[in-house]
C-alpha cells in the first residue's frame, strides 16, 4: 500500500486513541477536584498534573495566565493551539481519514466524520460541569466506536495492522506518561500511613487508564502503589499496560514483516523493547528509580515510532 | 575573442538532502558568433547526468544524485571563441516559430506602467523595428538602475520596474515586456559576459534579450549594459523569460536551509588562433 495511506491510518488511530486519553485525564481530574480538601481535593495540584501528562506546558503558558480548572479544561479540550487537545485530535484524525477515504470502511469514516460534525455542537460556548462531563463521555464513546468499527469492519491486511501499530504506540506512550507524571505518588516514600490523599491519587491513576475495576479482579487486594505500577507496566491482561502494548506492536510488526518478506529496524527495536520489559521487575524498578525506568521506556517507544515511520510510512 | 569560463555553483544544506535533482542549462551551442572549443559539466556528487534538447533548442542536463548529500557543487569549465557580429545571432538552433516569442509570461507581464513606458520611449513603436529596439535599449537603463539587491528568481518585470532598480535579469524582463507589448517577438538569453574593466571574478552569470528584426533575424540587446551584444557575450540558453533559460533549477527532499554561493571567473583575451577566427568569419559571410 502507499506509504502515505499507511501513515494516515497510523496517525488516525493515534489521534483517536489520544482523544480518549485526554478525556480520561480530564475526567479523573474533575473527580479529584471535586473531593473535599481533607481527601486531597483543592489542595492537590490536579490541574497542573493533568496538563503535564497530556499537553504542551510551554504552549499553555503562551495563552493562559493561571493553571486552574477553567484554563486547563479549555486548553485540553478545545484549544486550537494545543495539537493534542480533544478538538485538535478529532480534527487531525478526521483530516487523516479524509485523505484516505477509500482505504477506510464506511463505518470507520462515519465514526470519525460523525464525531467531527458533532464536535461543533460543543464548541464555542461555555459548558456547564454537567455538559462538560457529558462531553467527556461522548469523546470516550467516539473512541470506542472508532476502535470497534476498525476491529469489526477492516480487512485483516497491512492497512489494519498499521492502525494497530498507531494505537499501540500511542497507548504505550500515554500509559507511560501517566506513570511518569505521578511517579512520586507511587514511590514508597510517600506511602506513609496510606493517607487519604494518596489513596485517591492512586485510584485516579487507575481511572485514567480505565483499570479501576480491573485492579480488584487482578490483585484482590486493597490498592497499593507498587501493584498499581505493576499493573500498568507488566500485566499482560491489562489492555493499557506497557507489556501488552509492546506485545501488540510485536505481533503486528511481525505480521507486516511476514507479509512483505522483509524485516528491519522496527522489528529489531520492538524486540529490544520487549526484552527491556521482560528483564525488569517491579521491586527492582522501585529500588533503582521508577522515573528513570519510565523515561527510558518513553524514549525507546518514541524511537520505535520513528523507526516504523522511516521503514514504512515515508 | 577567446573566453574562458570557470563557474562553480555551490549548494550547502543543513542536513543531508535526498532526491537531489538539478536541471542544468549551462551548455552553450555554436552559432555564427561563437564557437564552443571545450565545455564540461562536473557535479561534485555521484549520480546520473544525461543531456537532451529542450523545446527551445537549449542543451539541458538532468542530474540525479545517487545518494543524499549535504553539499553539491556544479562546476562548469569551458572555452568559447567569439566573434563580433554586431549583435546579430545567426546559425543558432531555432526550434520555435516566431509568434511564440510574443507570448506573455507571469515574469514579463507588461503592467500598465511598462506599457506606457514602451509607447513613450518609442513614440508608439511605429518607427523602423531596429531603431525602436535601440530606443528601448537606451530607455530601460535610464528608468531602471542596475543595483544588485533584493531581487529573486521570481521578481516580475512589473515589480522591478516599479522599484526602479534591478539586476540584469530584471532589466531584460522589462525590455522583453516592453518589446512584446509593441508586438515584437523577443526572448530571454542567459549566458556569460566578459567585462572589459579587468574584473574577471563575478558573482553571477549574465542575462540579456534577443528581439526579432525583419531582414536581420535575432539581435541581442543587453539592457543592463545598454548595448547590443558583442564578442564579450557567450550565449548559453534562451527562453520566454528567466524560468525557461535558468542556468540551474533544482529540487530536493529535506535538507533544511540551503546555502548558495556562486564563483564565476570569466577571462577574455586569451591568445587567439587565427585559424578558428577565420573559420568563424567564413561561416558568418555565408549566412
Amino acid at each position: 500500500m502507499l506509504s502515505r495511506t499507511a501513515d494516515n491510518l497510523y496517525w488516525l488511530s493515534r489521534y483517536a486513541e489520544r482523544a480518549d486519553f485526554v478525556a480520561r485525564i480530564l475526567d479523573a481530574a474533575h473527580r479529584l477536584a471535586a473531593l473535599p480538601s481533607s481527601y486531597g481535593g483543592r489542595a492537590s495540584n490536579e490541574w497542573a498534573s493533568a496538563l503535564e501528562s497530556t499537553g504542551d506546558t510551554d504552549e499553555f503558558k503562551k495563552h493562559y495566565d493561571a493553571v486552574n480548572e477553567h484554563t486547563v479544561c479549555d486548553f485540553l479540550a478545545f484549544s486550537r493551539h494545543n495539537p493534542s487537545s480533544i478538538r485538535s485530535c478529532i480534527e487531525t484524525a478526521r483530516e487523516n481519514a479524509r485523505s484516505i477515504r477509500t482505504a477506510l470502511t464506511t463505518e470507520m469514516w462515519d465514526a470519525i466524520n460523525g464525531a467531527w460534525l458533532e464536535l461543533r455542537s460543543y464548541e464555542g460556548r461555555e459548558l456547564s460541569r454537567d455538559e462538560f462531563s457529558q462531553f467527556l463521555d461522548w469523546v470516550k464513546q467516539v473512541s470506542l466506536a472508532f476502535d470497534g468499527s476498525a476491529y469489526r469492519t477492516m480487512l485483516r491486511n497491512d492497512g489494519y495492522w498499521f492502525t494497530r501499530l498507531g494505537m499501540a504506540i500511542e497507548r504505550a506512550d500515554n500509559t507511560a506518561r501517566i506513570l511518569d507524571v505521578k511517579y512520586q505518588i507511587l514511590l514508597p516514600a510517600s506511602e506513609k500511613v496510606g493517607g487519604s490523599l494518596d489513596y485517591f491519587q492512586w485510584t485516579t491513576i487507575l481511572r485514567e487508564v480505565s483499570a479501576f475495576n480491573a485492579y480488584h479482579w487482578v490483585y484482590r487486594e486493597s490498592i497499593k502503589p507498587v501493584l498499581v505500577a505493576d499493573l500498568l507496566i507488566f500485566n499482560r491482561q491489562m489492555p493499557r499496560s506497557l507489556t501488552n502494548c509492546v506485545g501488540i506492536l510485536m505481533e503486528h510488526l511481525d505480521l507486516i514483516a511476514d507479509s512483505y518478506g522483509r524485516r528491519g529496524e522496527s522489528q529489531r527495536l520492538a524486540s529490544n523493547l520487549r526484552s527491556y520489559l521482560h528483564n525488569a521487575d517491579i521491586d527492582r524498578i522501585f529500588a533503582s528509580g521508577l522515573h528513570e525506568f519510565i523515561e527510558a521506556f518513553i524514549g525507546e517507544n518514541n524511537k520505535l515510532g520513528a523507526a516504523i515511520s522511516d521503514q514504512y510510512l515515508v | 575573442m577567446r573566453i574562458r569560463v570557470v563557474h562553480d555553483t555551490i549548494y550547502t544544506y543543513e542536513q543531508a538532502a535526498r532526491g537531489l535533482i538539478q536541471v542544468l542549462r549551462l551548455t552553450p551551442r555554436d552559432h555564427d558568433g561563437q564557437h564552443v572549443r571545450e565545455w564540461r559539466i562536473e557535479p561534485s556528487a555521484d549520480g546520473r547526468l544525461t543531456a537532451r534538447e529542450d523545446g527551445f533548442g537549449n542543451i539541458v542536463h538532468w542530474f540525479t544524485a545517487d545518494e543524499a548529500a549535504d553539499a553539491l557543487t556544479v562546476r562548469v569549465t569551458g572555452e568559447v571563441e567569439t566573434f563580433d557580429t554586431a549583435g546579430i545571432v545567426r546559425g543558432a538552433m531555432e526550434r520555435l516559430p516566431e509568434p511564440f516569442y510574443l507570448r506573455e509570461t507571469p515574469l514579463t507581464e507588461p503592467s500598465p506602467e511598462i506599457q506606457a513606458f514602451a509607447e513613450e520611449a518609442t513614440s508608439g513603436g511605429v518607427g523602423e523595428r531596429l531603431s525602436v529596439l535601440h530606443q528601448l535599449l537606451t530607455a530601460v537603463p535610464e528608468r531602471v538602475v542596475f543595483e544588485p539587491g533584493p531581487t529573486s528568481a521570481s521578481t516580475t518585470a512589473a515589480a522591478s520596474f516599479e522599484a526602479g532598480k534591478g539586476v540584469c535579469q530584471d532589466m531584460s524582463h522589462i525590455f522583453i515586456a516592453a518589446a512584446r507589448h509593441l508586438e515584437i517577438p523577443t526572448r530571454y538569453v542567459s549566458g556569460y559576459f566578459r567585462r572589459d574593466d579587468g574584473v574577471d571574478d563575478q558573482h553571477a552569470g549574465h542575462a540579456w534579450a534577443e528581439a526579432l528584426v525583419p531582414g536581420l533575424g535575432w539581435v541581442g540587446f543587453d539592457a543592463a549594459n545598454g548595448i547590443s551584444t558583442t564578442e564579450a557575450h557567450i550565449r548559453v540558453a534562451i527562453g520566454l523569460d528567466y524560468l525557461g533559460a535558468a542556468p540551474i533549477r533544482g529540487s530536493r527532499i529535506g535538507g533544511g536551509k540551503e546555502g548558495l554561493e556562486v564563483r564565476l571567473r570569466v577571462e577574455g583575451g586569451i591568445e587567439s588562433h587565427s585559424q578558428s577566427q577565420s573559420q568563424g568569419r567564413q561561416s558568418q559571410s555565408q549566412g
Binding site: R4, A6 | I21, R52, G55
Partner: protein
C-alpha cells in the same frame, strides 16, 4: 428581456397545456409524476440528500468561506434521451474527439493545420496552454486527449450544439455514477418500467482506456495511479471516488518520485514503478523543474520521465489549448480538415472579439449576447447579456474593450428545459449535458448519457455547480 419559450425535454416545443401529450420517451415518467403526491417527492429528496451526505459527495465552492464542503443539489427527476438521439450524439462525440486528438498531435508536430491556414498561428503559439515542451517528443500512441467532457446543449427536437470542449481534467463523472446509484435505490419501480442503459461500467471502461495507453517500456500489467492535488482540491471527492472504483492508488505529489527517468511511488513495501498517471492536476503544477517552480503539488523530474517515454500522463500535457474558446470557434474547420467529414455536432455560432468586425458587433449587442473569457471556466467571469443589469453590461464592456483578444461572444441560446422538482413543485429548468468520452489506444468508449446539469434558478442559463447549478440522472432508453 423575455426569451421565447424553450424546447422542453418532456413536452417538446411550444406552450402545451398542463396534462397535454408529452414526448414518447417521457410517457411513463409523466404518468408517474402526475400520480405521485408531492410529499412523496419531498421524502425521497431528503432521503437522496442524506444518502449523498453519508457517502460524502461534496464540492468545495471557491470564494465561500463558511461552506468549504457543500452538497451539489441533486434533482430526483431524470432527464431522458432516446436511443436515436444518443446514437447521433455518440457518432458526433467520437468524431469530435478524434479530430481533437489529430489537431493536438498536429500542432505539436507537423503543424499542417497552421500551414494550411485552418487556424491562425498566433492563436496557437501565443496561447498559454500551448506547451512547447511537447514539441520535442511524441506522446504514447499519438493520443493527447484520453478523457474528454464535451458540453452539449439542446435547443430543439434535433438541434444539439457543442458548447465547450473540456480536454484538460474534466470533472463530474462521479456525479453521473452516484446519481444513478441513488436513483436506483430510491425509485426501483421506475427502473422496472424503463429500459435504462447502464452507466456503471464507466470505471471499467476508464481503466481499460488508461491501461491501453501505457508506454512501451511498461510491463504487461501496467501500474496505473490517479494523481490528485490533494484533499483541499474542489474535486477531491471525485478523485478518491474514482480511484476506489478503478482499484488504483490515489496519489499525491509526495507519494511519487523520479529516479533515473522513471517514476516510482512510495509504498510500505518500497518503491514501485508507475506506468500511467491519470492526473487531475493542471499542466502548470505537474513538475516544478519545468513549469511553475513554486508548485508543491507536482513531481520533480516527471516531465523528463514523460519525455523519455517511461510514463504516460493522462490527459497528455498541452491539451488545454483545445479548451480555449477562441480555438473552439475553429472546431468546425478543424473537424473537416482532419477527418475529411462534415462535423456531425455543430458549434454554437461564436464571435471572436479578436476580430475587428466581430468585436464591434459584440460591443453593440452586449445585452443580447453571452460573453465568455477564452480561458475561463466554471461560469466565472462571464456575462449573460439578457440577465445582466445595465451597470453590469457597462462594466463588462470596459473589460472587453481593454482586452478584446481574451473574449468570445455567443448568441443567448434558449437551452432546453427539463421538469425539475423545486420549491413550488415540478417546473421546467434549463439543462445541459456533459458526456464523458474515453479515447484509448484501442477504441473510443462512451457510456450512454453523461452528467445533466440543471440551472435551478427560474430562467437561469448558468448550470455550473459553482454558480448554484444542480445535477440530474441522465437516462438513455435502450428501446
Amino acid at each position: 428581456m423575455a426569451l421565447a419559450k424553450a424546447f422542453d425535454e418532456m413536452t417538446g416545443p411550444g406552450d402545451l397545456p398542463a396534462g397535454g401529450p408529452v414526448r414518447d420517451a417521457y410517457d411513463t415518467l409523466k404518468a408517474w409524476l402526475d400520480k405521485t403526491p408531492p410529499e412523496h417527492f419531498n421524502t425521497r429528496r431528503s432521503q437522496a440528500e442524506m444518502l449523498f451526505r453519508r457517502i460524502g459527495i461534496t464540492f468545495a465552492v471557491y470564494g465561500s468561506n463558511d461552506s468549504t464542503e457543500r452538497l451539489i443539489p441533486f434533482d430526483i427527476i431524470p432527464r431522458v434521451l432516446t436511443k436515436p438521439e444518443w446514437d447521433f450524439l455518440e457518432r458526433g462525440l467520437k468524431q469530435r474527439v478524434t479530430a481533437l486528438n489529430m489537431f493536438l498531435n498536429d500542432i505539436y508536430g507537423a503543424e499542417e493545420c497552421i500551414k494550411a491556414g485552418v487556424i491562425p498561428a498566433d492563436l496557437v503559439y501565443r496561447n498559454q496552454h500551448y506547451q512547447m515542451e511537447m514539441r520535442s517528443f511524441r506522446v504514447p500512441h499519438d493520443l493527447y486527449v484520453h478523457i474528454a467532457g464535451i458540453d452539449i446543449v439542446r435547443t430543439g427536437e434535433k438541434d444539439f450544439f457543442v458548447l465547450e470542449d473540456n480536454a484538460r481534467t474534466p470533472s463530474g463523472v462521479s456525479y453521473m455514477l452516484e446519481n444513478r446509484e441513488v436513483m436506483l435505490r430510491l425509485f426501483p419501480e421506475l427502473f422496472s418500467r424503463h429500459r435504462v442503459a447502464p452507466v456503471e461500467n464507466y470505471p471499467d471502461a476508464l481503466l481499460a482506456t488508461l491501461r491501453s495507453l501505457a508506454p512501451q517500456s511498461a510491463s504487461r500489467d501496467p501500474t496505473v495511479v490517479l494523481l490528485t492535488p490533494g484533499r483541499y482540491n474542489s474535486a477531491f471527492y471525485e478523485h478518491s471516488f474514482l480511484a476506489d472504483k478503478l482499484g488504483v492508488e490515489l496519489v499525491e505529489a509526495g507519494d511519487l518520485f523520479t529516479k533515473d527517468d522513471v517514476v516510482y511511488m512510495r509504498t510500505t513495501e518500497g518503491p514501485r514503478r508507475v506506468d500511467v498517471i491519470y492526473r487531475r492536476l493542471d499542466d502548470a503544477f505537474l513538475d516544478p523543474l519545468v513549469f511553475r517552480p513554486d508548485s508543491v503539488l507536482g513531481v520533480p523530474g516527471l516531465m523528463n520521465a514523460y519525455e523519455r517515454g517511461n510514463v504516460t500522463l493522462s490527459n497528455a500535457v498541452g491539451t488545454g489549448i483545445s479548451d480555449d474558446k477562441a480555438v473552439y470557434s475553429y472546431m468546425p474547420e478543424i473537424v473537416k480538415f482532419f477527418t475529411g467529414e462534415e462535423p456531425i455536432l455543430h458549434n454554437v455560432p461564436t464571435y471572436r472579439c479578436r476580430e475587428k468586425e466581430s468585436f464591434s458587433y459584440v460591443m453593440d449587442n452586449l445585452k443580447d449576447l453571452v460573453v465568455k473569457e477564452v480561458n475561463g471556466s466554471g461560469g466565472y467571469g462571464m456575462l449573460v447579456g439578457p440577465h445582466a443589469t445595465r451597470r453590469e453590461i457597462e462594466e463588462f464592456g470596459k473589460r472587453l474593450r481593454h482586452a478584446p483578444d481574451g473574449f468570445i461572444a455567443q448568441p443567448t441560446l434558449s437551452l432546453s428545459t427539463c421538469p425539475t422538482f423545486v420549491a413550488s413543485g415540478v417546473a421546467p429548468r434549463h439543462v445541459d449535458l456533459r458526456p464523458f468520452v474515453l479515447a484509448g489506444a484501442d477504441e473510443i468508449r462512451i457510456v450512454p448519457g453523461g452528467l445533466t446539469r440543471v440551472a435551478l434558478k427560474e430562467g437561469s442559463l448558468v448550470v455550473n455547480s459553482s454558480q448554484g447549478g444542480g445535477t440530474k440522472d441522465t437516462w438513455v432508453l435502450d428501446a
